[in-house]
């Protein structure tokens, strides 16, 4: 087997194992909650019928290993049960929210990376300049403030004082009636609601690619071939492009990690903006003790992180042959 294929095989097995581990961890966590799985739900006012449905769905009256088996079987088949709070199938009402989250986080983080890599390259290649020493401080400063605080400030300044954008929500109330599920995303109303949460994500995470790119560029600038490029008289921009190519590997590695961080931070941003995404759903579900929903949403977040790690590893294996050999 070629080394690349072997590498892919090893990584695939590892990924599947990680997913299984997450499922098991969730199972252990929720079954070791004080009292029955349903006891706390009953305490917060779920009715007997809903509880009975949950007991049947997750086979809670059987021994633990059978529960585990049914739990895995349910999850793998996509049979997620009914939310005791919303009284609908968990998948039915989470699917759009998953989409809402990704439509916010994916473009925002990609934009963050593009900007961050550019700033980091400029800062790293002008080491010791005023820009390098002080220009990154505001970026780190914004990144150091809690995500919800940045979001609140954005709302105060741009929504309330300047009245440029709506304060919260994803669309104006009542504007989506009679539209197909994808139509609201194409309206101007949606775009106006989109700007502030997008900015909040960018502000919060810009420091990650910026600092990593800066460090990486500084490192690559110290290597012999950059000196050679300089001696051959390549134009600055061309030279920077070559350097950036080498220096971007650590940034690429950290991309899925920072996506995971962003998904976590999104819980806060979605709460401030009332954005109907999975972070917002998770907090709501935890506070309402809606465990089937918590279980599934958390699994989605974890699975997303694991799978994106896997994808980056594959890309990485193709562009950098040294990695494969390590296995």
């Amino acid at each position: 087997m070629s080394s690349l294929r072997r590498y892919f095989a090893v990584r695939s097995v590892q990924t599947v194992m990680m997913l299984a581990l997450v499922m098991t961890a969730l199972f252990v966590l929720f079954r070791s909650m004080p009292g029955d799985f349903t006891a706390q739900m009953a305490a917060s006012g779920a009715n007997e019928e809903a509880l009975q449905a949950i007991r049947e769905q997750w086979h809670l009256d059987e021994p633990l290993y059978m529960q585990y088996y049914h739990y895995l079987a349910n999850l793998v088949q996509g049979n997620l049960g009914e939310s005791p709070v919303y009284r609908v199938d968990v998948w039915e009402f989470t699917k759009l929210r998953i989409f809402n989250t990704f439509i916010l986080v994916a473009p925002a983080m990609t934009f963050t990376y593009v900007i961050g890599v550019a700033i980091g390259t400029v800062a790293g290649s002008n080491r010791g300049s005023a820009f390098e020493r002080f220009g990154t401080v505001p970026i780190i400063g914004v990144g150091s403030s809690p995500a919800f605080f940045t979001a609140i400030l954005l709302v105060i300044v741009f929504a309330v004082w300047l009245n440029l954008f709506p304060t919260s929500g994803m669309t104006s109330p009542g504007s989506t009636e009679g539209l197909a599920w994808w139509e609201p995303y194409l309206t101007r109303d949606f775009a106006a609601h989109y700007v502030l949460p997008f900015t909040a994500v960018v502000c919060r995470y810009l420091f990650i690619p910026t600092l990593i790119m800066r460090n990486s560029v500084v490192e690559v600038m110290g290597e012999d071939f950059t000196e050679y490029y300089r001696l051959t008289g390549l134009p600055t921009l061309t030279r920077l492009r070559h350097i950036a190519k080498h220096a971007s590997i650590p940034v690429l590695t950290i991309y899925p990690v920072s996506l995971a961080r962003a998904l976590g931070g999104l819980v806060l941003i979605e709460t401030v903006f009332n954005w109907p995404g999975i972070g917002f759903t998770l907090v709501e579900a935890v506070l309402a003790r809606d465990y089937p929903t918590v279980q599934f949403v958390f699994f989605v977040v974890a699975a997303f992180v694991i799978v994106s790690n896997f994808v980056v590893d594959l890309v990485y294996g193709v562009i950098d042959p040294r990695i494969r050999l390590e296995g």
């Binding site: 914004v142 605080f149 990593i212 819980v267 918590v294």
Partner: protein, 320 residues
């Protein structure tokens, strides 16, 4: 030359007399190297500046509640009209204005410093101790232990903190201490990775090999040789850990899974947000938020002053 002085200068004699001397905390290798780490950071002017900020915040945590001009639950009324001072802008009597409930913002800010500092110390301490324990054990013991510990670290590394923190808190019970513990139980991951790498490096140094060859026990080598040499890096992660713990505890508080009756800065922002007076009473929500941001920024910049960090250390720290 005085023979007695010559003898006392002899390294071997000094080492022997070191053994017999009364143990002093400052003489401990670990403490000495930790102190060395701090000193090398403070030598840089920028780093010293951020260190100054951290000390100020710490002093605020210690003395803040004593300096507070009013009581924490004291409701203020207008002396003329007798009406409650509801979200009043800053004035002489209330330099930072009042909250929606008629509390003095400055008072709550000073009192809130203590839980915030406490969060940093407990959270940072947990991150440091768990991270160092796992990193050093994995790095020094090696073999299957290392594989197991590091795979576990990789697993935790992929866990999104706030969602997982919320789920863990529902398990531990909502409260102030659980909200800090959850952070400590997750955020050790960056420290563990880097300290393991550092341990692997130190393990190869001749003095460790010599100690091993002369029959020193594993705990002896770890405490006497490994820990002192990873201590400067530990300072770096302690500093970062303090910052992250404060920031994330405020975030968890904001989401309502920490104790809302402990008046930390996070609770202030949450109250301001929930009152609906957030945008008019900016003097209420902005100061605690800015203070958190400044504290976290200071811990981060202070940690960056640590010169021994290579890019891998930095990357692990940035994406902690």
């Amino acid at each position: 030359m005085d023979i007695a002085k010559k003898v006392s200068d002899n390294a071997l004699v000094r080492a022997i007399s070191d053994q017999s001397r009364v143990k002093n905390v400052g003489d401990n290798y670990i403490v000495r190297n930790l102190w060395g780490g701090i000193r090398s950071m403070v030598n840089d002017r920028m780093t010293a500046f951020y260190f100054g900020i951290l000390v100020t915040i710490l002093l605020m945590g210690v003395f803040g509640p004593m300096l507070a001009p009013y009581g924490v639950e004291e409701i203020h009324f207008d002396p003329q009209t007798g009406q409650m001072l509801r979200a009043e802008p800053p004035s002489l009597a209330h330099p930072l204005g009042t909250t929606f409930n008629g509390y003095d913002v400055l008072t709550r800010l000073l009192i809130g410093a203590r839980p915030t500092v406490l969060t940093g110390i407990i959270g940072g301490g947990m991150i440091l101790s768990i991270g160092t324990a796992i990193g050093v054990t994995a790095g020094y013991v090696g073999g299957r232990t290392e594989t197991l510990l590091m795979r576990f670290t990789d697993f935790v590394y992929g866990v999104p903190l706030i969602p997982f923190g919320i789920v863990l808190i529902t398990f531990l019970g909502v409260g102030f201490i659980p909200s800090i513990m959850v952070i400590g139980l997750i955020l050790w991951r960056g420290a563990a990775r880097v300290i393991r790498a550092q341990t692997l490096k130190v393990k190869q140094y001749p003095f460790v090999q010599v100690a091993k060859a002369s029959g020193a026990s594993t705990p002896h080598i770890i405490f006497k040789h490994i820990l002192p040499n990873v201590a400067p890096m530990a300072v770096f992660f302690l500093s970062l850990g303090v910052g992250y713990a404060i920031m994330l505890q405020a975030s968890l508080t904001f989401l309502g899974v920490a104790d809302p009756f402990i008046p930390s800065w996070g609770v202030m922002i949450r109250n301001a947000f929930n009152s609906g007076y957030m945008s008019t009473a900016w003097w209420w929500s902005a100061p605690p938020g800015l203070l958190i941001a400044i504290t976290v920024l200071a811990t981060f910049m202070f940690g960056r002053g640590y010169e021994g960090g290579d890019s891998e250390t930095a990357n692990n720290a940035i994406a902690a």
